[in-house]
């Protein structure tokens, strides 16, 4: 990337955030944006704790070779995972790991943390992501392997029971209990208890984060603390789901990192701007924030990129579809379960055009499809009737209103064996289920949102065992990728004639 492109991009972010600040009413959001602006300023003056990480982020140099060192691995890993770990643990300031769906990103991150801890029991690692759920997944996985690692999870808003014990509140409460039993000086107990009683005190959170081997928090939370000197730097910062994070979110952890490892998949969903944000972007001259993603560029240009090439989530049939459509056939199947009839297109003739045309409507149309809602309900009932064990099912749709309509319907249903979760595709990124039912929703109009290649990748790659695509084929075949999916369903199910299931309205 040329200096100008980077400077312009950073400048667009600065202008965008400044404009957003004027439009926001919510105090919490204002504080978040103000902090992001501060990070942008710091980065633009290279006022970060280790400029090497930033320089490598802006101008990737030739990659360093992976460490020749052979590691004694804690976990079962394939060759591509081992290679990613070697590059990440090498002497480069910044490395990237591309992890397609189900390829064991979390496993790789856990192994990196365990290796770093074994090498240095005082190591300081910051694991972060743009969502609380992703951070909790990481913390929960890492904590399974070694209970001597000091872990702290800062400001968990998900109330995830598996990581609750790592909250400052729990840590301090256990510590005070210990003090009361083991400390003979009541004065000291009183002083310490009183000083550490405010669990949301930022200086307490910061001190605990810097005292831990692994601190977990969201990227935005980092901006709440002042890390003043290199003695307050993290040895390694790992950002998960990096392609889903915005540039200011990525930059926050980089400002306090001795070394950074970015993990994500540029072929899955990027950050999404809400309509108010899009209006602000459009009001800024030559602003490219909607079209240009710096992190995608970095994955292309950096020499320190490793790719995880084997997926363990999906049956071979689903895995091959994902590999062929989105990864040039380079994605291997590691689960080795063929999964007959595991990808099925459910075709139907729509009773009317969806979204409905409403002549007097001023706002954007609400996109939902009652035909597909009915079909999905009947598929779920059939699945429930035939299920013998508890099965997780995700019903996902590209559009918020369709997801909400389906959610409303599911509340009225009672399933014996199915645990049904309804969400948008964007909301379901990073999660997986035994069975996924993907509602295309539209039967007319633009493919711009529904047909986005990254959104389709996420939609199709969540299912472990079975994937249903519910859509009006006469509409879908007009889109290149959707047509390929339909063709694939016919091909793999030709023996059983299950390529298309037709549902009559």
């Amino acid at each position: 990337m040329t200096d100008n492109t980077w400077t312009d991009h950073l400048s667009h972010w600065r202008t965008f955030l400044s404009e957003m600040l004027i439009t926001l009413d919510d105090v919490g959001e204002q504080i978040k944006v103000e902090r992001q602006l501060k990070t942008i300023e710091r980065v633009s003056y290279a006022a970060v704790l280790n400029p090497k990480v930033l320089i490598e982020f802006i101008n990737p140099t030739d990659g360093s070779l992976p460490q020749a060192e052979e590691y004694d691995y804690f976990l079962n890993l394939n060759d591509s995972q081992k290679n990613a770990i070697k590059i990440a643990l090498g002497n480069n300031a910044l490395s990237l790991i591309q992890g397609p769906p189900g390829t064991g990103k979390t496993q790789v991150i856990a192994e990196i943390c365990l290796q770093l801890y074994r090498k240095n029991p005082d190591v300081r690692i910051l694991v972060c992501s743009e969502t609380h759920i992703a951070v909790n997944n990481l913390i929960s996985r890492i904590s399974e392997y070694d209970d001597s690692i000091r872990i702290v999870r800062i400001r968990d808003k998900e109330q995830n029971s598996s990581v609750d014990k790592f909250s400052p509140e729990e840590i301090i409460s256990t510590y005070i209990e210990w003090l009361q039993i083991n400390c003979i000086s009541q004065d000291a107990i009183d002083i310490i208890s009183e000083n550490l009683s405010d669990h949301e005190d930022r200086s307490l959170e910061k001190a605990l984060a810097l005292s831990a081997n692994i601190a977990g928090m969201t990227c935005n939370r980092i901006n709440a603390y002042e890390f003043e000197s290199s003695s307050e730097m993290f040895d390694v910062v790992i950002i998960d789901e990096v392609c889903k994070a915005t540039l200011p979110e990525i930059l926050a952890p980089l400002t306090i990192a001795q070394k950074a490892i970015l993990v994500g998949d540029p072929k899955q969903l990027p950050p999404v701007f809400c309509s108010e944000e899009i209006d602000v972007i459009r009001s800024i001259e030559k602003c490219n924030l909607q079209n240009y993603l710096y992190i995608e560029d970095l994955f292309l240009k950096s020499k320190n990129v490793s790719v995880l090439d084997t997926q363990y989530r999906m049956t071979n049939q689903i895995g091959k579809l994902i590999g062929d459509l989105f990864y040039d056939g380079e994605l291997k199947n590691g689960r080795n379960i063929e999964g007959e009839n595991s990808t099925i297109w459910v075709d139907y003739t729509s009773s009317e055009l969806w979204p409905r045309y409403e002549a007097n409507r001023v706002e954007k149309p609400k996109i939902y499809n009652l035909d597909e809602c009915r079909i999905i309900t009947s598929i779920l009932k059939e699945l429930d009737d035939n299920a013998e064990i508890l099965t997780s099912v995700a019903v996902i749709a590209p559009y918020r209103h369709q997801a909400a309509t389906l959610q409303g319907l599911m509340q009225k249903e009672h399933f014996r064996c199915l645990n049904v979760n309804v969400d948008t595709i964007d909301g379901f990124q990073g999660k997986e289920c035994d069975i996924v039912i993907f509602s295309l929703t539209r039967t007319v109009g633009s493919f711009r949102f529904l047909g986005d290649v990254r959104r389709l990748n996420v939609a199709l790659s969540r299912a472990r065992d079975k994937l249903y695509i519910v859509g009006d084929l006469s509409y879908a075949v007009n889109h290149r990728i959707l047509k390929r999916i339909a063709d694939y369903c016919v091909k793999i199910n030709s023996d059983t004639h299950l390529g298309f299931l037709s549902r009559n309205q």
């Binding site: 002083i191 310490i192 550490l196 307490l204 001190a207």
Partner: protein, 148 residues
């Protein structure tokens, strides 16, 4: 009006510095013991906090005996705050605002805090007191009933 002055470590010091300061104030002088009590924080975090307090001349380290103690300036400040009271004119406007309770001098101009320190420690160099003023918040307490 007769007042007494009290002080505390200002809020730019985090909980670890505040705790260590209070432990030393309470007579705990062995850094290893302090570290052992505060094991919930890493050695590096505790060392950084000690460094910050030493650099700001709030505490000092006796290398030979490996003991921590309050700096001379802080000891002098405690002495004067404990044993002296001062006659000052507090404008009615301030008295009304403070509702007859203590008047806190936090986040105020460094000049105000330096002026208090100059009054409390008249024999100490002003340049030194400016540095110290950045470390403390003050409370003016009416008549002395609060601190007694």
């Amino acid at each position: 009006m007769k007042v007494k002055i009290d002080f505390s470590l200002c809020r730019r010091f985090g909980v670890v510095e505040q705790t260590i300061f209070r432990l030393i104030l309470n007579g705990l002088t062995n850094p290893q013991q302090i570290g052992a009590f505060l094991w919930v924080f890493s050695d590096e975090v505790i060392a950084n906090s000690l460094r910050k307090l030493v650099n700001q001349q709030i505490i000092r380290v006796d290398i030979e005996s490996r003991k921590l103690s309050l700096s001379d300036a802080v000891v002098a400040l405690i002495e004067i705050c404990m044993h002296s009271s001062f006659e000052i004119d507090i404008p009615n406007e301030i008295l009304l605002v403070t509702d007859n309770s203590d008047y806190s001098i936090e986040k105020t101009a460094i000049e105000a805090r330096t002026a208090i320190l100059v009054k409390l420690l008249p024999n100490v160099k002003r340049s030194f007191l400016i540095g110290l003023a950045k470390c403390f918040d003050f409370r003016i307490c009416k008549g002395g009933e609060i601190y007694d």
